[in-house]
């Protein structure tokens, strides 16, 4: 079988996102997320994709009506680290039992049943994209019927997170093999959030593929592109030597999720870069 050359990534156009919630619901359904009668304790809520409301209203200079609101679908940012030969996202390097690792396709995996619940990865994650199962997942009565057999139900006391729906890729791979396709790179797929987005704001694809709308080299040149809490990106053109220096910092996350927006206030909020 050929070596995997795909490197999955995502581009999310926030100027098209209405905050409708379809991505969040599709993700919960696809990944068998637990059901609770009161799910309003946000820090302890189990979601793989948070639809974060972002507003500039806390800016001291902002006054009504010069305020705006946007929604930011935030999932695991699938960090690559700064060494292409040895990808080390912040969470992977701290896991004592290799419950989380980076696949050949760049997807940061999470094996619930291997996790011992130490939560080091949760502390290490710069994006608060990992959640801990404080309670045993419950699926009251007939809700059990809608559970997806491709995703195992996580136990209480384990960490979980978005895996770019890698089980869908496995499903597509098995289908391709059954159809006689042996080239692993011929297998493509779409995660649940991206296939649910009604405005096509979430686009998924291969960051290495020049024909893909998420081709990384092209996305990086897009003036609307920004990565979450990744102020280093702003230095790429503003201060290239400082950029090169910072690139070498250990555990530089280098996420594979890019956001697009033409709104400067939103870019500033997302990147965390301060001009001053």
């Amino acid at each position: 079988m050929a070596k995997m050359t795909r490197r999955w990534g995502m581009v999310i156009d926030l100027d098209k996102c209405t905050g409708c919630g379809a991505c969040n619901i599709a993700c919960s359904q696809e990944n068998n997320l637990p059901i609770f009668k009161d799910d309003s304790d946000v820090p302890k809520r189990v979601t793989f994709l948070d639809l974060v409301e972002v507003t500039n209203d806390k800016d001291p200079k902002a006054q009504y009506p010069d305020v705006k609101v946007a929604y930011l679908p935030k999932m695991c940012q699938q960090c690559s680290g700064n060494d292409p030969n040895h990808p080390q996202p912040p969470c992977v390097s701290v896991c004592p039992v290799v419950a989380t690792d980076v696949g050949e396709d760049g997807v940061v995996s999470q094996i619930w049943s291997r996790c011992i619940g130490c939560r080091y990865c949760q502390v290490a994650c710069p994006y608060e994209a990992r959640v801990f199962h404080w309670w045993k997942p419950r699926y009251e009565g007939t809700f059990k019927k809608s559970l997806n057999p491709d995703v195992s139900v996580a136990s209480r006391g384990t960490m979980v997170k978005c895996t770019f729906c890698s089980h869908i890729w496995k499903r597509e791979r098995d289908r391709a093999i059954a159809n006689g396709v042996t080239d692993i790179n011929a297998v493509t797929y779409t995660p649940a959030c991206a296939s649910a987005c009604p405005t096509n704001a979430i686009i998924f694809g291969d960051l290495n593929d020049p024909s893909s709308p998420v081709y990384e080299a092209a996305v990086q040149k897009n003036p609307r592109a920004v990565r979450l809490v990744h102020s280093i990106d702003e230095l790429r053109t503003k201060d290239p030597s400082e950029y090169e220096k910072r690139l070498k910092i250990k555990d530089y996350p280098n996420p594979k999720v890019y956001y697009l927006t033409s709104q400067q206030w939103l870019r500033d909020k997302i990147s965390g870069f301060k001009n001053s």
Binding site: T18, C20, A22, I25, A26, Q29, G141, S146, P149, P198
Partner: protein, 656 residues
């Protein structure tokens, strides 16, 4: 063979070493350990089965999006919407497999006001209901029958309408919403029926007067496509609102106005249109222009709405300079509140800019012929507020006890009624007063082409089939329902688009409404704060709150535990001595809500609170009941005389 002691010990040793090595190498024991872990945690394993994808539709709005249902064996495990529709389609499985779904007809066994039902057979229930309706017809008490349909009508609405009208009752209503308001405007201003339908796809400038177009308004699936199109084409979009909603932030320009002043702002825009030579051939346009010149000058509108003269002029010029401009009426998301007068002013603007008949048309249904009975109440709220006696109510996929600002009065009416039939899939606030509950099915269980995507396993029926069952059992009207089943009925209801031939501007209605609005805006005294609603798209009109994956997406500044939060500008909070998270009580002239908490944000106008709607159900499954407050209980109940629905958008309140 003689076995030496040494050989015996060697064999035992070999077995021990072999078992040890085998244990380490074989996955068996480790798998056993994993099973043990899973067993101790009682971990559930979803059963595997054959995978299939079946076609179906989402029928939760008029868009009727096509979907694919992923099935494993006989279980539906995912809805594939393929980048169309909205979150509602994704939620269909939560309705389908809701553990509290009604699966059999229910008959009340206890007092009204509680969920106290026992299963009953379809035959017994329908025989009793049809006998009551027959008796009402025979005893000349037809006018004690009322039919209530959902806000967006479908073919089942035609059936309830037919049952009431052929029985001789004039009381057929819809829940409050865009369709009802828009139709009321059409009857008065266009002298025909139909909901105002905009050609968003081909527009090049859109001014929305409070319609939160991308937050559940109209057909959400269509509006999502429209947004993608607008972004591609770069059309001009101006939003008028008092909150920085997502729609306002997606607009090229958000015009922030005083809460509830949209009709006045529309007059300001109309004034500038007139100034720049835009005229209308509509009846009463002369009187309308007199009103603009003498009473609603831009200066006065600017003062009343808090919008600068330049901005009002800018909006007018944007409409003038476009090739296919549209002015959109219908404040709100899925839940709308407005007045016929406000709709009429905005349609007059469309007429002045030449969009009527091109970018603005009417959408309606053609239905089989039915009797025309003069209306005795124009809308549901007017009916509830009246002294009309209700003895038999058929409530079709609606929850008016919750959704109407007159919910309390409706519950009093329903308590006294002998027969209240509710068609629903989940027991809701209205079920507290129902005598019979008929279980309905999801669109996944309707055979679209051949088999249904999901086989119906309960005793539930499509609302249309239940209504046909009732109608066919009523001796005097059964012949008016020749259809075998609901699917046959659907074929008789055709969508049509109509041109608007005439506009008759209801100037007197407009004058009254504008005067009322001015009063509401300037209300002072103890009710110094304006209260306006906002909507969470997944919660929508409240119907989404019963679905647990909706709860998973709610910010804790909307609902935390059982407590609702309201939005307030920090400047207002400082004046009122309120800080982030403060508990407050909100009181209007109609009453007081349970305590809520305050989230401070500069997204909202001064001296205003924005309150989420869709919360505060008295009864709506374990997931939604008693969560937050229902602001409709204290919202403005002034009934719009032209539509018969309360215009509850702006309510004056005081805080304590």
């Amino acid at each position: 063979m003689k076995l030496e002691r040494k050989d015996f010990l060697t064999m035992i040793g070999g077995a021990v070493v072999g078992t040890g090595v085998g244990t380490v190498i074989s996955p068996g024991p480790w798998m056993g350990l994993q099973w043990l872990v899973e067993w101790t945690q009682d971990q559930y394993r979803p059963p595997k089965g054959e995978e299939k994808y079946l076609a179906s539709i989402c029928d939760r709005c008029p868009n009727k999006c096509t979907i694919q249902v992923r099935k494993i064996g006989n279980r539906a495990v995912k809805i594939e919407t393929s980048n169309q529709g909205c979150a509602v389609g994704q939620l269909l499985l939560q309705v389908l497999y809701h553990p509290e779904r009604v699966t059999t007809p229910l008959k009340r066994t206890g007092k009204k006001g509680k969920i106290d039902f026992a299963p009953v057979s379809w035959d017994e229930a329908i025989a009793d209901i049809s006998k009551k309706i027959n008796d009402a017809i025979n005893n000349n008490k037809q006018e004690q029958i009322v039919a209530i349909n959902p806000a967006y009508p479908d073919a089942t609405s035609m059936l309830t309408e037919r049952i009431a009208l052929f029985s001789g009752s004039p009381y057929v209503f819809q829940e409050s919403g865009y369709w009802a308001l828009s139709n009321a405007c059409s009857e008065i201003a266009f002298k025909t029926d139909g909901a105002i339908d905009y050609d968003f796809e081909n527009a090049d400038c859109v001014v929305s007067f409070g319609a939160r177009l991308f937050e559940g308004w109209g057909n959400p699936g269509r509006m999502h496509n429209v947004l993608s199109l607008w972004k591609k084409k770069g059309i001009k979009f101006i939003q008028i609102d008092s909150i920085a909603t997502r729609t306002a932030s997606l607009a090229d320009q958000w015009v922030a106005i005083k809460p509830g002043s949209e009709p006045l702002f529309a007059m300001g825009v109309a004034h500038y249109l007139m100034k720049y030579g835009k005229r209308s051939g509509a009846a009463n346009f002369g009187r309308f222009t007199e009103l603009l010149i003498n009473k609603y000058t831009p200066e006065k509108v600017s003062e009343l709405t808090g919008v600068s003269l330049e901005t009002i002029e800018y909006v007018a010029k944007a409409l003038i300079s476009a090739q296919r401009p549209i002015a959109v009426a219908g404040r709100g998301g899925k839940v709308n509140s407005s007045s016929v007068a406000e709709f009429s002013i905005i349609q007059t603007i469309n007429n002045m800019i030449g969009s009527m008949g091109t970018s603005v048309k009417l959408a309606s249904f053609t239905t089989p012929v039915q009797p025309v009975i003069p209306k005795k109440a124009k809308g549901l709220d007017e009916y509830i507020a009246s002294d009309s006696v209700c003895d038999i109510a058929i409530i079709n996929n609606a929850n008016p006890v919750y959704s109407s600002v007159y919910g309390q009065r409706l519950s009093d009416k329903l308590k006294k009624a002998s027969t209240v039939v509710l068609l629903t899939s989940l027991l809701n606030d209205t079920a507290l007063y129902a005598d019979y509950v008929f279980p309905t099915i999801t669109s996944l269980e309707i055979p679209v082409a051949g088999d249904a995507a999901v086989t119906l396993t309960s005793d539930a029926k499509h609302a249309g089939d239940s209504l046909l069952g009732i109608a066919k059992s009523i001796a005097k009207i059964s012949s008016q329902f020749p259809w075998k089943n609901y699917l046959e009925t659907v074929q008789t209801v055709k969508h049509q688009t109509k041109n608007i031939a005439n506009l008759d501007i209801p100037v007197d209605l407009i004058i009254t409404k504008l005067e009322e609005t001015e009063k509401m805006l300037s209300a002072s005294g103890s009710y110094s704060i304006a209260m306006i609603p906002f909507e969470i798209p997944t919660v929508s009109d409240g119907s989404g709150l019963s679905l647990p994956y909706v709860l998973k997406g709610l910010p804790d500044t909307i609902l935390k535990g059982d407590t609702s939060w309201v939005l307030m500008n920090p400047a207002t909070a400082s004046k009122e001595g309120i800080s982030e998270g403060s508990k407050i009580d909100i009181e209007s002239s109609r009453g007081e809500l349970d305590t809520v908490r305050v989230h401070l944000t500069k997204r909202i106008a001064y001296d205003t609170i924005a309150i989420p709607i869709g919360f505060g159900h008295e009864e709506f499954t374990d997931y939604a009941s008693e969560k937050g407050v229902n602001p409709k209980k204290i919202m403005s109940d002034a009934v719009d005389p032209a539509s018969g629905y309360a215009d509850w958008w702006l309510t004056r309140v005081k805080l304590s």
